[in-house]
């Protein structure tokens, strides 16, 4: 294997040119999605089957390459295999399908209909990647490479014009040019707060210090969000390139990528990318022969949500407990090791090369007045197409959920849309009446939620909003660092109150007490975790007050979720006596003999409302109420 | 600006302990008599020596304090204890080679002679000394 090292920008340019002209670049591509979702579905077996059945010579003979790519985003349908350039999209692929795919669609010219995705609206199978609504309705900027490249192959990234923005930066732009381009693009941080990235960079540049640091925040802690994971796993070089460009603008020489502990694959891919980039002189001393030097180190998190908060993250990089500090002095003045530091989310960093490449005007042309560009969301919950979507800012919630999302998962009354939760534990739940809100930083905040890092959890009428509030509180009680009183003690007490309501022991004064305590926590807490902690409770209280009232006044959980307020009952008319529920019940609470015609009863005293019987009953004969 | 220094001439001491009384009353609080920062010791027959802080430069108490609660005022050369800062580790009470850092168990704090800076600018012990044993000298700043 030839060792490539670029000693100048020209060197780099000519190598990329040669690469693009080579036969390898023109080969057909078999893309096997190896994102976490597809891996869980068995993608490793599929990739191995391809490798076993198509060795190197056979691949050359067929003029194709098999690539393990990052997440295509359509996790719901995994494992996914895409045949390029034709764009044939196969879902739910199993190892046993591989030989058939090779024979019919690779050697042959055929399409295997059973493996095609069926559009739920039309009921028709779709052959092409681009024609699937899920993808067709997206605008991919941050995620443009994911799924198309093998993240472990730097050449794949180069073939998609990777590092071209860096070459352009180093050869034609001054640090000031880069800074003003980012300012003009009006890029806002994708991590949650939506702070103007250009302004952040500018104040860091102005601050006095011995060194400046650049950090990528990959501590994606919001439950229900996994865009950053996909970016780090699927396009690691994109993150690096953005950081190098940013470091050039800031004249920084040291950078860190903080990756949460739950993402081992992201660490692996990023480390590989760092090693490869260093070997090619795209990272390290005198990058591309210039006199600019910058290097990146990965810092692994230890499993603490609060480390997504920038000051806590910096303490964690320093090897300490992740306790936030007051932000009266900004990180841009005193951040990592008390030096001026710019911290941006990985999605923000991966967007930077795109802006440099295509210009600030192009980026500012996307999105809304206040929120430029696109935003990646992880669309999950009770929606048909769960997965990653990237849309222009200003797209409405309805367009996302009923567009790429494909609408609600389940039919019937209980399957109707009830709320969408955005912004993770700092955000809130928006009801059906607000489905037409355009999604951008400011609109969501005004509506009592927030953009957050981009988690979007769709809920239907089988979701109890009081339970959701309790869920977020228990999350925060668990994840609070415990430093300040309002967050540590206040959220704990709030959890106690909401729990009481869920358990049917709520009292008339509870809602007022929640309100009073919330106000104190909102203004009194030290960091953003506490300052936004009451949001999920307040937003559900605002939009779903009736549901709280039903719990308190009528001792009833309308969604049938809160265990203390529900009972399970066998509807004997619907029951066929199969006895599956008997076997499933761990507490032996179901009485009856498994034969047709027998009546089954549930012993309420024994029943611990685990719901196992409901999941196994094929006839829907167990009623919850 | 001038500063004070206390002059001790033990051969004049008659062991009357007026200095101790004056000190204790001066440093009392809320109508209670405080603890004296000055101790008169008997060293022989009819031989007494009043022992009190010498406001040393490079004082051991200053050096040993782990929280920098003891400092010397560069202008007056008086060594002060910042009671708010002190964490009562007692190191200074041992470190002073002259035994002039005292601990008051009632007030739970360490204390030392501060030349009565908070009580007018004339040390009470000297004021009440009936002999020339304790006296005050005013020196111009910068003088040794």
């Amino acid at each position: 294997m030839e060792t490539v090292r670029y000693d100048s920008v020209d060197d780099f340019g000519s190598h990329v040119k040669r690469l693009k002209a080579s036969g390898l670049a023109r080969r057909r591509r078999v893309l096997v999605c190896c994102g976490t979702g597809c891996l869980a579905g068995g993608a490793r077996g599929v990739a191995e089957a391809f490798a076993a059945q198509l060795d190197r010579s056979r691949q050359a003979e067929l003029n194709l390459v098999v690539k393990r790519t990052g997440c295509h985003g359509f996790c719901e349908k995994g494992p996914l295999v895409v045949l390029m350039p034709r764009g044939t999209f196969y879902k739910g692929v199993k190892p046993e399908h591989v030989s058939q795919i090779i024979e019919r669609s690779i050697v042959g010219d055929d399409v295997i209909e059973e493996l095609l995705y069926v559009e739920p609206g039309s009921g028709k199978p779709v052959a092409g990647y681009g024609e699937i609504e899920f993808y067709a309705r997206q605008t991919r900027v941050a995620m443009r490479n994911i799924g198309h490249i093998d993240p472990a192959d730097i050449d794949d990234y180069l073939l998609r014009d990777g590092y071209a923005a860096l070459a352009k930066t180093l050869s034609t732009m001054t640090p000031e040019d880069v800074l003003s381009t980012i300012e003009k693009a009006r890029l806002r941080g994708r991590g949650g707060g939506g702070f103007d990235a250009g302004r952040k960079w500018r104040s860091c540049k102005r601050a006095a210090g011995e060194k400046r640091y650049v950090i990528a925040n990959g501590d994606e802690g919001d439950p229900g969000a996994f865009m950053d994971r996909s970016i780090m796993e699927g396009d690691p070089h994109g993150v690096l390139e953005g950081m190098v460009i940013g470091a050039y603008a800031l004249e920084s020489h040291e950078g860190y990528i903080y990756v949460r502990q739950e993402y081992p694959l992201a660490v692996e891919h990023l480390q590989r990318a760092i090693d490869d980039a260093r070997a090619r002189n795209l990272l390290g001393d005198n990058i591309l022969g210039s006199n600019f030097s910058f290097d990146i180190e990965i810092s692994r998190g230890g499993g603490a949500f609060v480390c997504g908060e920038s000051s806590a993250l910096m303490r964690s990089v320093e090897g300490k407990v992740g306790e936030p500090r007051a932000k009266y002095v900004h990180a841009t003045d005193k951040g990592l090791w008390d030096q001026p530091t710019v911290l941006n989310n990985v999605e923000t960093w991966v967007t930077v090369p795109r802006i440099i490449e295509q210009g600030a005007e192009w980026f500012a042309g996307l999105g809304t007045e206040g929120s430029k560009g696109t935003k990646a969301f992880s669309l999950v919950g009770k929606v048909k197409n769960t997965g990653l979507v990237e849309v222009e800012m200003g797209t409405t919630l309805r367009e996302i959920i009923f567009g790429p999302g494909g609408g609600m998962l389940e039919e019937g009354e209980r399957g109707r849309f009830k709320a969408v939760q955005t912004g993770g534990p700092s955000g809130g739940c928006l009801p059906a009446a607000q489905l037409d809100l355009p999604v951008d930083f400011d609109t969501l905040t005004r509506a009592g939620s927030m953009m957050g890092s981009g988690g979007m959890i769709v809920m239907d009428h089988s979701t109890c909003m009081v339970d959701v509030a309790r869920y977020f509180l228990s999350f925060l009680v668990d994840e609070s660092c415990g430093k300040c009183v309002p967050c540590r003690e206040g959220l704990f007490q709030m959890y106690q109150i909401v729990s009481r309501i869920c358990e049917g022991e709520g009292t008339a004064g509870d809602l007022d007490q929640i309100d009073d305590l919330s106000r104190a926590i909102l203004v009194g807490s030290l960091c953003a975790l506490g300052k936004s902690g009451p949001n999920p409770v307040l937003s559900t209280l605002q939009h779903f007050r009736d549901e709280y009232r039903a719990h308190i006044n009528e001792r009833r959980c309308p969604a049938g979720v809160c265990k203390a307020l529900i009972t399970y009952r066998v509807v004997n008319e619907a029951c066929d006596g199969c006895g599956a529920c008997l076997k499933a019940c761990a507490s032996s609470a179901i009485l009856g003999t498994p034969k047709k015609g027998d009546t089954f009863n549930i012993d309420e005293a024994k029943c611990d409302r685990c719901g196992a019987c409901v999941t196994v009953c094929k006839r829907g004969a167990i009623a919850v109420g | 600006m001038s500063s004070l220094r206390l002059v001790v001439q033990p051969h004049y001491c008659i062991g009357c302990r007026a200095c101790e009384m004056a000190c204790a009353f001066t440093h009392g609080k809320d109508g209670q008599v405080g603890a004296s920062r000055c101790r008169t010791l008997t060293v022989g027959k009819d031989e007494y020596v009043p022992v009190l802080c010498l406001q040393c430069d490079h004082a051991a108490c200053v050096q040993v304090c782990p929280v920098e609660a003891i400092t010397q005022d560069p202008a007056t050369r008086i060594v002060h204890v910042d009671q708010d800062r002190c964490v009562r580790c007692m190191a200074c009470t041992v470190a002073c080679p002259f035994g002039n850092m005292h601990f008051d168990p009632n007030g739970n704090h360490v204390h030392k002679c501060d030349l009565c800076t908070d009580h007018g600018d004339y040390p009470r012990c000297a004021m009440f000394c009936p002999t020339r044993c304790l006296s005050v000298e005013r020196i111009e700043q910068g003088a040794p």
């Binding site: 300040c484 009183v485 309002p486 807490s525 | 035994g99």
Partner: protein, 274 residues
Amino acid sequence: MEQTGPSSFNITINGRRVEAARGEVVLQVARRAGIQIPTLCDHPAVEAFGSCRLCMVEVTKEEWKGWKGLMTACLYPVAQGLIIETDSESVHHVRRNVLDLLLARCPDSELIRRLAAEYGVTRTSFVQRENPDLCILCGLCTRVCETAATSAITTTRRGHDREVGTPWGGPPPDCIGCLGCAHVCPTGHITFEDKGLTRTIWGREFELQRCSDCGKPLPLTRDQVDFLARRQQLDPSYLSRCADCQRRSVAQTMGRIARWHQLGLVQEEAEVAQ
């Protein structure tokens, strides 16, 4: 952060104009002006921490067009034109809630009960902690230990499970028994005992240093003496005699000089100062 502009200026606290210097925080300036702001986690010996949230004050500036924010006085840097209210309704609302929450945590703490009562809370409106102790988690002990001693104690776990403790809950190996933690503890949660030559704190026993003259125990442990001599760069002999013996020794020396005077051996008056 304000890095330019004059180094001292006036700010307004409760309608009063008060002088402040760049680099100071609101709490410092207020205290100097005799304006009381309650605190629990503040101590001059350690860096400000901002955990108790009791010192919150309302901050605004004329150019903020009516926007006001609640800030912790112990951390908020002063800047020209700041207008501070230390006792507004919103300030009291937060303090009342904080104290109410702390009262649920530490119902037996005299200090918390007294402070809470000042803000009108005599009984907590929340669920009282089971088996409560006196620790309010202000973190003063661990911070003092870090600043003045050896970081022998730490906060452990997180969130509502947070506690102050020692490695593996046992006697802390790095502790020097200086009692700094116990003395700064505002609620008396940290206890210790000195008995004969033994000091006990954090479940560990320490031997007290003995006076090299009289043999009585000094108020310092042997570990503390070693630590201080090393860290403060002081000859250990400075830490070997009790104050009584030190005084006796100096008195005897001075007594000798006095005798020389009386015998006419010394011409000049001995000045024992400077």
